[in-house]
């Protein structure tokens, strides 16, 4: 039996220098922002071979577990997700607003998980940064609303934000490999 080398089996999220993880559930309205950004970038931009833009859907924690445990890691991870900070005191956001959230502003949650669905992504991101010494950027979009029942319709303001976010991510993180190197230090 010839064992494949690690390089041969490494998934893109562990093999590429820049990994863009677009999170969200396309069945819950504005929560589909992340996957829509992934679709837009992959359809309209030339993603360089040192980067990957993934529609992580609702499986982001599996990918993060892999990235934490793997000896092969990205230099830069960009997480793209929908958030609802409209009612938060001091950080009021308007629907469709795209902004970066410093990872340190997301509280680490002391939690024991019932299942993978509840594993706290913020903890995993901070763990990933600590064990891997890599740069993590969180790009968020303020939702207009999240429907209580399934719907694949993104609100017009968030839909308009998909283009802006796709351009921002492409221009900032997917143009020059040296940028990733710089950001990782």
């Amino acid at each position: 039996m010839t064992r494949p080398t690690m390089e041969e089996i490494l998934p893109d999220h562990c093999a590429k220098d820049v990994v863009v993880l677009c999170c969200g559930n396309v069945l819950f309205g504005d929560d589909g922002f992340g996957p829509a950004v992934a679709e837009r970038i992959n359809a309209t931009e030339d993603v360089p071979d040192w980067a990957v833009v993934l529609d992580a859907g609702t499986a982001v924690r599996e990918l993060l577990f892999d990235m934490i445990l793997s000896e092969h890691r990205a230099k830069l991870v960009v997480v793209v997700d929908a958030v609802d900070l409209a009612d938060d005191v001091g950080v009021k956001r308007t629907p469709g607003e795209v902004f970066e959230i410093p990872l340190d502003d997301i509280p680490r949650v002391n939690i024991s998980e019932f299942s993978l669905h509840q594993a706290p992504t913020s903890n995993l991101l901070q763990e990933l940064r600590e064990v891997a010494n890599l740069k993590i950027v969180v790009i968020a979009c303020q939702v207009e609303s999240i429907p209580e029942e399934m719907s694949d319709e993104i609100s017009p303001v968030v839909h308009a934000a998909v283009d802006r976010a796709a351009r921002l991510i492409t221009e900032t993180y997917l143009r020059e490999p040296v940028l990733a190197e710089t950001n990782s230090t």
Binding site: T58, A59, S70, V79, I106, Q118, E149
Partner: protein, 482 residues
């Protein structure tokens, strides 16, 4: 009235999975309730769409077991269109199922349930996780990640995509497997088999013996079991009939399209999620001393209901398991043991399928034509029997959808196991974090899918424990958020 302990996670889309423990005046457990969220609006979402779209849509329901929904849906559309997949199409589906089960079971055992056993239930949450395992046992951590990479890579080669699969289609599989890809996959599958053998023997020797007391006590309840078998009673996770086994080991069998003749759904006012039960076993009751109608699904259920396993190493493990724990085994923590037997089975099965000449056949699907029909099909998902039921009109557009997922089958047993665990562990009002961790172990053994829709960025589900006195006023709030 005594006091109430509420373990109440909070999330964005009403994804509240809440555990309430009611104490009596003496501080002992009087009652417990576990609320598990269910996805709402799926039926409405699907109605009016082309039925062949559903195998692709359902993969977005759950980021953890998309393949199970994908395959259950593809099988249901086979019924709707009135076709039987080609031999190669069916075997490619089975191969992907075996690979997805491996990825999932490695994940559950080593990343979710394993830390309780490897690090111990009293360990602090900061180390009672897979990162703690990786730091304490780096070689195991490396093996876990390598084999998860292998399983995902194999799924990618076989199907093009592992996260949101699209290749199972009505009538079969959309993409044949080339001989070159088969040659690439085989050594990978052989390597994951080696890992499955290691995982089985390592845990039998080094982990489970240390937890004999917990296995014998935590969450133990007496129920029946539901799982899929072939006509001769052999384990099959992709296709077969359903076997419903009573606690005494006697059983009935039925085709999945007859499920409504055997399974009824009970409603409790405090839970969104229904409580399926065996309707022929009498009225529904979760009373621990005299439960009625209660059955369980998932790995332990499957290992209990089958007469045999078709692969030799898993069959040997089944025999050893039965020798040690009897049939049916009722100890809830044995779900983890059963999961490892299934890991071994799926690893063996993948190698078998990759050595099967049919797997590289070029005929992977049959053509389909829309017609008005109702279709019911099921697969065994990692969390239990997964039933999809659709109805389509003469244009092939969806008019009705119903799903019963593994966690729903286990709703009543999860509630009963939590009650049993809490009653066993909490006495005279005395409990601590280690106690609550053990209560959670009983839940975690079922690997419940609490909510497919919640993945909040700021740390999904903080747990809050509210303790209420007999006067209804809150005495104390314990929180595990920092």
């Amino acid at each position: 009235m005594g006091k109430t302990i509420t373990i109440a996670p909070v999330s964005r889309i009403e994804g509240h999975a809440k555990v309430t423990i009611q104490l009596d005046d003496a501080g002992n457990v009087a009652d417990t309730q576990v609320n598990v969220v269910e996805l709402r609006g799926f039926e409405k979402f699907c109605v009016g769409r082309p039925v062949e779209e559903l195998p692709r849509i359902v993969t977005s329901i759950c980021g953890v077991c998309p393949w199970s929904h994908h395959l259950a849906s593809a099988k249901t559309t086979d019924v709707i269109f009135g076709v039987e997949p080609t031999v190669t199409g069916r075997k490619l589906r089975e191969l992907c199922n075996a690979l997805a089960f491996q990825e999932e079971h490695i994940l559950h055992f080593f990343i979710l349930a394993g830390p309780d056993f490897v690090m111990g239930p009293d360990a602090d949450y900061t180390v009672r996780n897979v990162i703690g395992i990786a730091q304490k046992y780096p070689e195991i951590g490396k093996a876990v990640i390598r084999n998860r990479h292998l399983a995902a890579q194999m799924l990618g080669i076989a199907s093009g995509k592992s996260i949101h699969p699209v290749t199972a289609v009505p009538g079969g599989f959309s993409k044949p497997l080339t001989e070159a890809d088969r040659e690439k996959l085989l050594p990978m599958a052989e390597e994951t088999l080696e890992f499955a053998k290691f995982a089985m023997s390592y845990t039998k020797e080094n982990i489970f013996p240390n937890y004999a007391d917990e296995i014998a006590s935590i969450g133990v309840i007496e129920t029946g079991f539901l799982g899929m078998v072939t006509d001769d009673g052999t384990l099959n996770l992709y296709d077969g009939k359903l076997r419903l086994m009573k606690p005494d080991g006697t059983y009935e069998e039925f085709a999945c399209e007859q499920y409504k003749d055997y399974i009824e759904e009970h409603i409790e006012p405090w839970s969104y999620l229904k409580f399926p039960f065996a309707k022929k076993w009498g009225p529904f009751s979760m009373d621990l001393d005299s439960p009625s109608g209660i059955y369980r699904t998932n790995s332990l259920a499957r290992i209990n209901v089958v007469d045999r396993i078709s692969t030799p190493l898993a069959q040997a493990e089944l025999e050893e398991f039965r020798e040690a724990f009897g049939r049916p085994a009722q100890q809830t923590l044995l779900y983890n043991y059963a999961r490892l037997i299934e890991l071994l089975y799926n690893a063996e099965l993948a190698v078998q399928l990759l050595n099967d000449p049919d797997i590289t056949g070029r005929e992977t699907r049959v053509p389909v034509t829309p017609r008005a029909a109702r279709g019911i099909a099921c697969v065994e998902a990692p969390r239990g029997t997964l039933i999809h039921e659709y109805e389509a009109d003469e244009n092939g557009m969806v008019t009705d959808v119903n799903l019963i997922v593994g966690t729903t089958h286990n709703n009543a047993p999860i509630n009963m196991s939590v009650k049993q665990a809490a009653q066993t562990l909490i006495k005279e009002g005395n409990y601590d974090q280690g106690t609550l961790n053990r209560v959670e172990m009983a839940i975690r053994a079922y690997d419940p899918c609490l909510s497919c829709a919640t993945h909040k960025l700021d740390g999904t589900l903080p747990i809050r424990i509210d303790i209420y006195g007999s006067d209804g006023k809150r005495i104390e709030t314990l929180t595990n958020t920092s």
